[in-house]
Symmetry: C2
Subunit: 459 residues, 2 copies
């Protein structure tokens, strides 16, 4: 009875709600969430998409915002614009603060409570500092547009401060950029930063030599791109080295501070440190916690069955990076492709329910992986429509085609293509803006340290 009253109240807060098509609440407007919502377009349900942000973000290109090739608007679209034609979907910009899986009610930060018949959690994952949250300030990660703008600010600012210091003192701290984490994001960031220094800045400065900048990529494992086949890892490493990136594997980061990174107990100078290591699931999984007990893996991902439900909660689906799905004895990776496929699966499962048929089983169809490495190079582990290990510019060309194809929103595709062509043919990066704070943590410290080293020669 008490539960029934909770439900009634929840419904009562939705004005004009006439009973009653099943309501599907989708939390998160990433790849999984958008695909989940779109998959409901022709079903006799009402969908509510809840996201803290007003926009869907095309994550695979976020590193290009961080490295001044694209503008945020090129890779982001308002979620409600994407779903504008889908009349059975509403979008709420709000944050989920509680889930009552028994009463089937989701509570939002604003106080709104939404009763659901189906709940899809697709809030993804973010980077993890392995318990060292204090490193976040020194070494920003790349997950949101704000992150990308912050990284762009730091990278560009380092060159400006060095130029200024040359005028002031005739020397500057070495331009060392350190990228921590040798996964696709780390490899892409390292390659792009090296590109900036070696190709895009060369004519712009009068006192510094941007191509003398060092870019170091640190990875704790014994090879970068550990999820790729070994030959592609080796080719990626060779390409990075050709770009001038120093690749350090088996490098365990033990400290990050203003102006330095410590790996394997050894300290190296770092004007800018970028974090591309570690994955931690969104806390939404924990909210499903009790009762009944939902199991999370060590990253906080929700263990789900082959229909993407946590055991005992057939009306709850966990999609995308937040889901821990085992297939053929291996975990489905937390990248865009499986997220889209899991999103698509939601519609199929609910359609089966509505039609009174048994739900299908989710199966990830892996078309392969790819990562760019600087200007016009990439590695691709192609699994469909043929199997191949590609590298160099053929892989890069494939990467461009696939990413343009999957970019949501026709205008964005055009704009991204135009920006890419401009960037690659003219060696000019279009979005080289420094906004916000105009200091760099660690820069002053290094300058002061060096000043006492060098005595009063410059005074």
């Amino acid at each position: 009875m008490a539960d029934e009253r909770v439900k009634q109240e929840a419904v009562a807060t939705r004005p004009g709600n006439k009973r009653r098509r099943p309501r599907v609440v989708i939390v998160g407007g990433g790849f999984a969430g958008i695909h989940a919502a779109s998959g409901l377009a022709r079903l006799d349900v009402d969908a509510t998409v809840v996201d803290r942000r007003n926009h869907h973000l095309f994550q695979p290109l976020l590193y290009q915002v961080a490295t001044a090739v694209l503008s945020p608007a090129d890779i982001a679209q308002p979620i409600r614009t994407i779903l504008r034609q889908q009349k059975n979907a509403e979008v709420l910009m709000d944050e989920v603060v509680g889930i009552d899986a028994e009463a089937r009610v989701v509570s939002l930060a604003s106080g709104v409570r939404i009763e659901y018949d189906y709940l899809a959690l697709a809030t993804g994952a973010t980077h993890s500092y392995f318990g060292h949250e204090e490193w976040a300030k020194q070494a920003p990660g790349l997950k949101t547009i704000e992150d990308a703008i912050e990284i762009r600010r730091r990278v560009l600012l380092a060159f400006e401060l060095a130029e200024r210091q040359m005028v002031e003192r005739g020397w500057h701290p070495p331009l060392n950029f350190v990228v921590i984490g040798g996964g696709p994001t780390g490899v892409e960031l390292a390659g792009a930063v090296s590109d900036i220094a070696r190709h895009y800045m060369t004519h712009d400065f009068r006192h510094i030599q941007p191509d003398k900048a060092r870019v170091c990529l640190l990875d704790g494992g014994h090879r970068i791109l550990a999820a790729y086949p070994e030959d592609l890892s080796a080719r990626a490493e060779a390409t990075l080295k050709k770009l001038g990136v120093e690749v350090h594997t088996e490098a365990q980061v033990t400290g990050v501070g203003p102006g330095w990174v410590e790996a394997n107990g050894e300290r190296m100078e770092a004007v800018v440190t970028l974090w591309a290591a570690g994955v931690e699931a969104s806390p939404l999984g924990k909210m499903l916690g009790a009762p009944p007990k939902v199991n999370l893996d060590e990253r906080g991902c929700v263990l789900v069955n082959d229909r993407l439900n946590p055991p005992g909660l057939p009306e709850v689906f966990v999609l995308g990076d937040l889901a821990h799905v085992e297939q053929d004895g291996r975990q489905v990776p937390g990248v865009a492709q499986p997220a889209m496929q899991m999103g698509d699966f939601l519609g199929k499962a609910i359609a089966a329910d509505l039609g009174g048929k048994p739900r299908p089983v989710f199966r990830y169809f892996d078309k392969g992986d790819m990562a760019t490495i600087g200007r016009m190079s990439a590695v691709a582990d192609v699994k469909w429509p043929f199997r191949a290990h590609m590298s160099g510019w053929p892989a890069w060309f494939t990467w461009v085609t696939v990413h343009i194809f999957f970019l949501i929103g026709f205008r964005n595709r055009l704009s991204v293509l135009a920006n890419w062509m401009w960037t690659y043919f003219t060696f000019t990066r279009g979005a080289r803006l420094i906004t916000g704070d105009q200091r760099l943590p660690g820069w002053e410290e290094q300058t002061e340290a060096k000043r006492s080293d060098k005595g009063r020669a410059a005074d």
Copy 2:
């Protein structure tokens, strides 16, 4: 002797400086500063451009960033990229903190001191709150990219919060947007915000009716666009009214607070308040202060003669919005055109000095003014190559052509044109991103006030 030593030291801080071509220091990378630097390209001088920001901003289109049509990178370019081919120009991202006009030394925030032979001050102006700095938080003005992003955030967020509130309570505070100041920026902002509400949001929301939003434009004078001929003011007002903008002239703003604006003692609700009134010169003019005494007008602009020098300082030029130049008994206006022409004048004056000829006299050649009013309408007071008062879409078409032509950087022109075509033909705004803080000052206050008004009906 003492002065001579100061000079020697200043030079000594510039490593590798061989005596000695005249050094021209240009402070500010706006229209005046960029034109000033470019005008020195073929002269036997060394130029240093100092700006706090790394980018030149195409100010006349900034309101389109604030209203989600363009991205910041579309209207901004790094100053050093603009000047990359000009080998006698260096760019320093730094802030001027002092000017010693007697010793001819400029001091920068980083500690760098630059001796100059010529100094060009072109640091422009910003909006002024007429002594009510406390209004700035409630009513942001539009001068920097950060300002534009903040305005965009507030405008877009208002609709999101209203939609959320409809779901929560079945009502929302009225969507009143108040623009204070009826100059070109105020008119352009008001028209663009009205466009967003009436054209670009209509299919995106399920619970609110964005076209029910009110946009009010307040001006203290007896007509908007006071610098334009009276017939164009009247046409602009008529066009705004057709767009649904309420135009209130003779409206003296006496207070601005969270969720409200008080004009002529009467309080009106305002979900978002934008400030487009008042001009205040950059504080650089004051630094010229003494000795000798330089005169400033009431806005802080430096009074200069017809060669753009403050009296008694022939080696100092004041350019752009910071300069108070009288011509034919009227003050040259603080807009882009005279700034560019003043910038160009610097090169001519210095060339005359180097050639041992008398300096020319500056004369502003006024080609006219224009301002857009929402979608495909504008007013233009054309003075060259023919004289005409234009309005409606012919004026708009002229506006587009002129602005594309003057946009610095070929890529930006292409990108802006593409974004405009996309926006105007598809009724979709490309840059509708909400980043940063996801609250709105005043929103909660209004909600709480209304909640007690309405009693417990919604509970």
